[in-house]
Subunit: 308 residues, 2 copies
């Protein structure tokens, strides 16, 4: 029998690449030492049939292609330097659709103050957008450099995009978050300045990111009551026959930052945030529910290629 | 009638992007000023059904995805800094095929001394590889900064890849050039050091590149006898019912450098090269054939999206 990539899954494939390269730092971005600073670089590819829901506009596709890349800069606390756009489109795409995609890209570049500096164009059977974000950072925020008893925090609300992907009605905070997420670029810079001990962005769901940043001997205790879940959120989830905690823990695309900071440095933090838990020595990723019971959180974040 | 992107063609689409952005330098790469140097960045996407001939191995696909990007660094005379690999593969791709692609990428990174520093993985219905090459350059070689009477030169042989794409027999210099082209990275650095006045890489055919670097008031005279076309090349083309000059002028993928240098600086040039012509004031791109007749060269380089 010939082994297929789906037999081993995306994470093992990435591990294979990292194991065979001597130069990859397994964090949110690449880091390259430059004289007195670090070049921060990251690339992310979005493919129409996999990443763009049917109700996403062309403008939003363009905007999101910048956001997903800038979000990785945010997770390092980097200052933006430039954006490269590699785009492939079908030859029968209406010209207006193309212009809307570019408008979305340029609007996002303007919003994040990251200039569009170059790119590449191709023809393909569907829309493919591969962005590269470049930044500078004197002392990048790594994802697993936290200490015991550090507080665990998030920016904004998580789970909103997950709910929005399941809603038909347009124009509410959930659908808006799903279709036009915003990267926390300024927050990332302020988090680093405040002396945070680690950071990553939430693309694959809170649970998956916690497992991503977990290191041996350390664990996390998350408190449901601190996640800021509204009654409205629970009600809408219920009506859609969705488990609200499942949405929040195991579905991503919020592009909020997940970060840690010592209690001492908390007072330096000049952004909106939620404290959601604490770094423990349990070696487990756990949650304490509103009813007081605690339980280990399973790692079932999205993975490409896994056989169904 | 709704206009489609194929109604206006790739070049106009690229012009649209550049016209709407204030930060794109229309050259082989982006250039970003950094303290005492320039960050050079470029991205190129390769799509299996469009860029990889059927007889190309998985290793060669990986290798080429690095070459096409490094070739743009070479055209600026830049020193390599890092490579980002954004790759999408079908879930039923054999694991061994995936490993061969990565082996090709890593072999190329090693060959060009450009470390693989990061990337992204995705699932798609075919293999898509979008690379980003980063480099540094104190004084980048632009593509149209030549002067009247500068000599026009190329590295290596052009047209070989074009012929190789049409040959069934494996393992000859033409097929090898088509399947595993090599970027002229070191030559680019040496060309810059020698005081070349401009450079670009030949991806779309000599004629197309000459039109790409042409500026108002300047022209080029190319001499067929200086192109180094062998009798073997002419014979194989003949046997395949192909016009050898058409292959050389209008089909690309050689990844050789096309550059200009003053006669005074020629003695500084410590690489293998061919002088193929001269910068003129004719405002035309012309060729003098071996029989002594001269003619304007048409611009019919490959363009995506153009309606057939």
């Amino acid at each position: 029998m010939t082994l297929k990539v789906s037999d081993i899954g995306e994470k093992e494939l990435v591990k294979y690449i990292i194991a065979n390269s001597n130069d990859i730092v397994p964090d949110d971005t690449a880091i390259t030492k430059l004289n007195d600073s670090n070049l921060i670089s990251t690339c992310d590819m979005l493919i129409q049939s996999r990443h763009f829901p049917e109700n996403m506009s062309y403008f939003e596709m363009g905007f999101k292609s910048v956001t997903v890349n800038v979000s990785d800069l945010a997770a390092m606390g980097a200052e933006p330097l430039g954006f490269l756009l590699s785009i492939a489109i079908p030859k029968d795409l209406p010209l207006d659709a193309f212009k809307k995609i570019i408008e979305g890209v340029l609007d996002a570049c303007n919003f994040y103050s990251i200039p569009l500096i170059g790119g590449d164009m191709n023809e393909a059977s569907e829309i493919i957008i591969s962005g590269t974000a470049l930044g500078l950072c004197d002392d990048p925020l790594m994802k697993n450099t936290y200490s015991l008893d550090d507080l665990i925090l998030i920016t904004g609300d998580i789970g909103h995009a997950a709910l929005g992907f399941n809603m038909d009605s347009p124009d509410n905070i959930y659908v808006n978050k799903a279709l036009k997420p915003i990267a926390r670029l300024n927050e990332g810079i302020l988090i680093k300045k405040a002396g945070a001990s680690s950071a990553t962005d939430i693309t694959d769901g809170l649970a998956s990111e916690l497992y991503e940043i977990k290191k041996d001997g350390f664990g996390f205790m998350i408190y449901e009551e601190m996640l800021g879940i509204s009654d409205e959120y629970k009600n809408i989830s219920d009506n859609l026959n969705l488990d609200y905690l499942d949405l929040i823990l195991h579905v991503g695309e919020d592009f909020e930052l997940l970060f840690t900071i010592s209690e001492d440095n908390l007072e330096n933090l000049d952004i909106d945030y939620k404290i959601i838990g604490k770094v423990t020595s349990s070696d487990k990723v756990e949650i304490t529910f509103e009813n007081g019971f605690s339980q280990e959180i399973k790692n079932k974040g999205y993975e490409h290629y896994v056989s169904e």
